[in-house]
């Protein structure tokens, strides 16, 4: 064990000196990435077992749910809206997938129906928000209650067991040492990074979030855009729900309560503006990773439960404050 500690101090320090120039500039320009890198180095040095392959794999796995959903939540927030129903969608899609798989006996059908259920909820949210101009917080809060209720009703309130063994393999199928849920998360980051930055759709989303009236006068079909973004959110939450179910081996209607706040705060920590128009995929990635690392390290350090609350709160606050401070310093010195 002592070996490991020495090892893990050595690596980053050595690595740092040799940092290539672009990385150093990055550190200087983006406060949050700097926070993350410092945090990561700090944890690697100070927390035994942190920088081990196993632990990093475990860490990645533990952020898959938040990370996957954060990619589309970023789109929703960029649009100037918010979606509180994601946790319910995860539960509902999981339960539906479990039931359909068990009754139909086909994994493919179960998975598809589960994902479709999530997408349908998302599209409905989008429809309500875009067509009737309902505040998305209220619309998705209503959906959060309603869909959680549906999850309880379809499952009878009890976790649904899955009888088809093929279903479990989904969640544990592994490639290059990472399992499908992790790959899905990585995939979502790539896809929505590209969507946000490289497509007109992504730029229109940002524009609409920045000034919806101007976007609509500039020829953006704001209504269709909103429905699409919410439907994507539902789709991704549905996928996450199905994967969670397969990983856990059961469709639990109670799962993931409070997930929506965790996802939203990871996004906001990553610099996504709640008032819309500002989003960055690296920011969200870093936001997710910061939160995951802190949680993981507290586990490794055996921080008592109650103090974990303090640490989480403090880290969250310090990270944003540091980011602000860097920004203002840059603005001041520039």
């Amino acid at each position: 064990m002592t070996d490991k500690v020495v090892n893990s101090t050595a690596i980053p320090v050595q690595g740092r000196r040799g940092l290539p120039k672009p990385l150093r500039t990055l550190l200087d320009t983006s406060g949050l990435i700097a926070v993350f890198i410092l945090l990561f180095i700090g944890l690697s040095v100070l927390v035994p077992d942190f920088l081990t392959g196993r632990n990093i794999v475990g860490l990645l796995l533990s952020v898959t749910l938040i990370g996957t959903i954060a990619t589309t939540m970023m789109m929703v927030l960029a649009l100037g809206e918010v979606d509180l129903s994601v946790a319910s969608i995860v539960a509902f899609a999981g339960v539906v997938a479990a039931i359909v798989t068990s009754t139909s006996g086909s994994v493919a059908i179960g998975v598809l129906v589960g994902i479709a259920a999530g997408t349908a909820v998302g599209a409905f949210n989008g429809f309500v928000v875009a067509r009737f101009g309902i505040n998305s917080l209220i619309a998705t809060l209503a959906a959060m209650e309603f869909v959680r209720g549906l999850a309880y009703i379809t499952s009878g309130g009890d976790a649904v067991m899955i009888t088809v063994p093929g279903f479990f393999e989904l969640g544990s199928a592994s490639f290059l040492g990472l399992t499908l849920p992790v790959w899905t998360m990585i995939g979502c980051f790539v896809v929505f990074g590209v969507v946000l930055n490289m497509t007109a759709f992504g730029r229109n989303t940002l524009a609409t979030g920045g000034n919806a009236e101007a976007a609509s006068l500039a020829g953006v079909n704001v209504r269709r855009l909103k429905i699409t973004v919410f439907a994507l959110q539902g789709l991704v939450a549905g996928i996450a729900g199905v994967l969670l179910t397969s990983r856990m081996g059961l469709g639990d209607p109670n799962t993931s309560q409070g997930l929506e706040l965790a996802v939203i705060s990871a996004c906001v920590l990553g610099g996504v503006s709640l008032s819309g128009g500002v989003a960055s995929i690296t920011g969200v990635l870093v936001g997710v990773l910061i939160m995951g690392c802190v949680q993981n390290a507290m586990g490794l350090l055996n921080v008592p439960t109650f103090y974990q609350y303090l640490v989480r709160g403090a880290i969250l606050l310090l990270a944003v404050m540091f980011d602000r401070w860097k920004q203002s310093r840059r603005a001041g010195s520039g």
């Binding site: 064990m1 475990g58 081996g249 639990d252 209607p253 109670n254 799962t255 439960t305």
Partner: protein, 313 residues
């Protein structure tokens, strides 16, 4: 995986203690007791929380990273059993369950994982029996007594408890039409209060009430609602489950209230015993009994201090 067996030096032993609700007094007591035992016997206890399946699996990964040889767990969902057992086996870790027993894919308890705990259903029956006994002692006619069942059907363990109490009451001759459900949205006092209020408003014709729920806090919420409605303490029998601060707070009031008693279970004993079982298994390779069942003790205003001391709460 990690090598196991008696070759390990004693002070290298590290076990995990994963609980589903790390903020609850019950589980804190369990973990405290396990840590105390660890200090006494010289092994390390890593306290972790697993509030859902996702967190449990991360917690196990985490334990593995730290090189633990096994863990005690109260799972957030008993049906996670196969997944948890699987993961543990993958890492070569030993598992014992406490409080809630794993269910296998067939829906039957997983006998291969040693368990220590009380059956929720049985503890519920204890509540029901105690209520029935006190009703008789007070000379209440079953027809004139209503039951407020503060339910939380989203939580299977809660349902087991209230089902047990209901069955015991029915067996004792309670009128099933007189049982009213108050579904709470949370497991705390104020949500129980909010759920209970309309039930009293609606059923004003009953003079006597009995109240039960999954824990003391919820029963207390019901009792507060009965007081608010204008029922006197001697018109109400509320019996909780656990034996935690909420009950002690109520018993230490000057005047008796409708909170008649609680079925106290020794979380300390659970924590200590399960950790000890696991430790013995790791160090001496002696598998603990498949299922150890514990029971609760009725704690009332008259005997609470004594029971508290006996159970080490």
């Amino acid at each position: 995986g990690m090598g196991a067996g008696s070759s390990l030096a004693q002070n290298d032993v590290k076990i995990g203690f994963i609980v589903k609700k790390p903020e609850q007094a019950w589980f804190i007591n369990e973990q405290d007791a396990a840590s105390a035992l660890g200090e006494q016997k010289g092994f390390e206890v890593v306290r972790l929380s697993g509030e859902d399946g996702q967190q449990v699996l991360s917690a196990i990964d985490n334990l593995n990273s730290q090189g633990a040889q096994g863990f005690v767990i109260c799972p957030p969902d008993v049906r996670l059993g196969p997944a948890i057992a699987n993961r543990a086996q993958q890492y070569g870790m030993k598992v014992v369950t406490v409080d809630d027993q794993f269910l296998g894919p067939d829906g039957e308890p997983m006998a291969e994982v040693p368990h220590l705990g009380m059956s929720g259903y049985k503890i519920g029956r204890q509540v029901g029996d105690a209520i029935a006994k006190e009703m008789k002692a007070r000379g209440w006619e079953p027809q004139s007594v209503a039951a407020l069942r503060i339910s939380n059907n989203e939580l299977p363990t809660a349902k087991e408890r209230t089902d047990g109490a209901t069955d015991a009451l029915l067996d004792a001759g309670f009128v099933s039409d007189n049982i009213f459900d108050a579904p709470q949205q949370n497991t705390d006092t104020s949500s129980a209060f909010a759920a209970a209020s309309p039930i009293f408003s609606k059923n004003g014709r009953f003079e006597h009430w009995v109240i039960y729920a999954l824990n003391e806090e919820s029963v207390l919420g019901g009792v507060r609602a009965s007081e608010q409605y204008g029922l006197a303490p001697d018109q109400v029998i509320g019996i909780g489950i656990n034996g935690s601060g909420a009950a002690f707070a109520e018993f230490s009031r000057q005047k008796p209230t409708g909170f008649y008693g609680t079925v106290a279970v020794s979380s300390t004993m659970h924590g200590r015993q399960s950790a000890d079982n696991l430790y013995t298994w790791i160090t001496e390779d002696k598998q603990p009994p498949a299922n150890t069942e514990t029971t609760g003790t009725l704690m009332t205003r008259d005997n609470w201090e004594q029971v508290r001391e006996d159970l080490g709460l």
